[in-house]
Amino acid sequence: MSELLSRGVFRLTSCPSIEGAAAIVGAKEGEGPLGALFDQVHEDSYLGQDTWEKAESQLQTQAVQTALKKSGHKPEEIGLLFAGDLLNQCIGSSYGLRELQIPFYGLYGACSTMGEGLGLAALFTDSGLIRRAAAVTSSHFCSAERQFRYPLEYGGVRPPSAQWTVTGAGAVVVGPSGKPPYLKGVATGMIQDLGVTDINNMGAAMAPAAADTIRRYLEATQTQPGDYDRIITGDLGAVGSELLVDLLGREQIDVSAQHDDCGLLIFNREEQDVHAGGSGCGCSASVLCAHILNEIQSGRWNEVLFVPTGALMSTVSVQQGESIPGIAHLVHLSSKRWPQPEQE
């Protein structure tokens, strides 16, 4: 049973396991530093479909199918599926997952959605209500670009603080297998807004939310950054990462040694022309599934805080001059379970 440590912070006493995970990405991500770790790299950005939106749905379908296959379970064995993406009304998920016939919750947490979905999957399985859940998110550079920015062939200029939407999807199956990686804790983010209005600087808009969630989890669990091998935020990019370390430093929390960021891990910023780094729901999801879980499984990392971050604006709110609210959800991953008082 889950235990409430403080408002929005939960300890997962049964330590559900990640039984299977898969990351499916596009060509540019395949050329990045994590290229060899992805389950599949698609050279064709349309994935054989006729629109970018269908291509994104296809990414989700393939990610879930691959994760299920790796976990050794069938769709019928999944009690709940949590999914989301960046497209209007989350059509990437609803079209990509409609054939699977799994009880479905569509989520919107912008680029933090993997933290939201994985957290909910963990809480539901840990509570014992369901045996097994899955979470998946995706983003596609082209579908995001045409919805949030400009047509693909438009010759606009991206400022250096802008981030590059990752083409990719990541899916996990959470269940009671009893093998690592384990899920040990969840912290639900609170919306933070420090007044950033620049759509091309989303890292700055999201950093306060990440700082707040990390601080709340550390306080609730009475731990220090040094108790973790890595604290990996979702997609703050170069600008947001610097701000996060600064903000936590003001609270006497030094994460500079442990902090890393999925947006910085997925691309080689020197060579790949991605400006401040990667972003999008698929960014933290594919880095989690291809890289973070591997490192935990192999025992190189033991305790990891995974903190996907999201910018909760829309094109309408931006054009109306509203500032950009940020959110960050935290999931505590580990190679070991909590010390169990009595074995079942």
Binding site: G26, A27, K28, S45, F141, C142, E145, R146, Y150, P151, L152, E153, G156, V157, T167, D198
Partner: protein, 122 residues
């Protein structure tokens, strides 16, 4: 030789106008669409004040090809139409002067959209 000099003048005037645009991109939060609007409206204004005519005479295509030239053409069209038709010219002069450019953009835009498909950025 005259051609070479006219090309150099076009290069200088066009280059300066684009550099002003670049400074706006780099140092303000203006989006591309706003910069285009600013250039066209500035062109109308400079055309109305009679400042742009000498720039066109000296810089040739360096002054007419940038979007300030589009604004200049609007102003010039209105001015001629007012002389010819009176107040009605205020409404029909501008767009008539730029009709070819707008129609060409629609025509070629449609043709290209029929044939091509958007690609992911390289």
């Amino acid at each position: 030789m005259e051609l070479l000099f006219s090309c150099i003048r076009a290069f200088v005037v066009g280059g300066i106008l684009c550099s002003i645009g670049q400074i706006l991109i780099d140092h303000t939060k203006l989006t591309p669409a706003r910069i285009l609007v600013a250039f066209v409206v500035t062109g109308v204004l400079l055309g109305a004040l009679g400042i742009y005519t000498p720039i066109v005479e000296w810089g040739g295509m360096g002054a007419t090809v940038p979007l300030t030239g589009f604004g200049y053409a609007l102003a010039k069209g209105v001015k001629e139409a007012i002389l010819e038709k009176g107040l009605l010219g205020a409404l029909c002069g501008g767009i008539s002067a730029c009709a070819a450019g707008i129609a060409a953009a629609i025509f070629f835009g449609f043709l290209v959209a029929l044939i091509a498909k958007p690609k992911e950025k390289g």
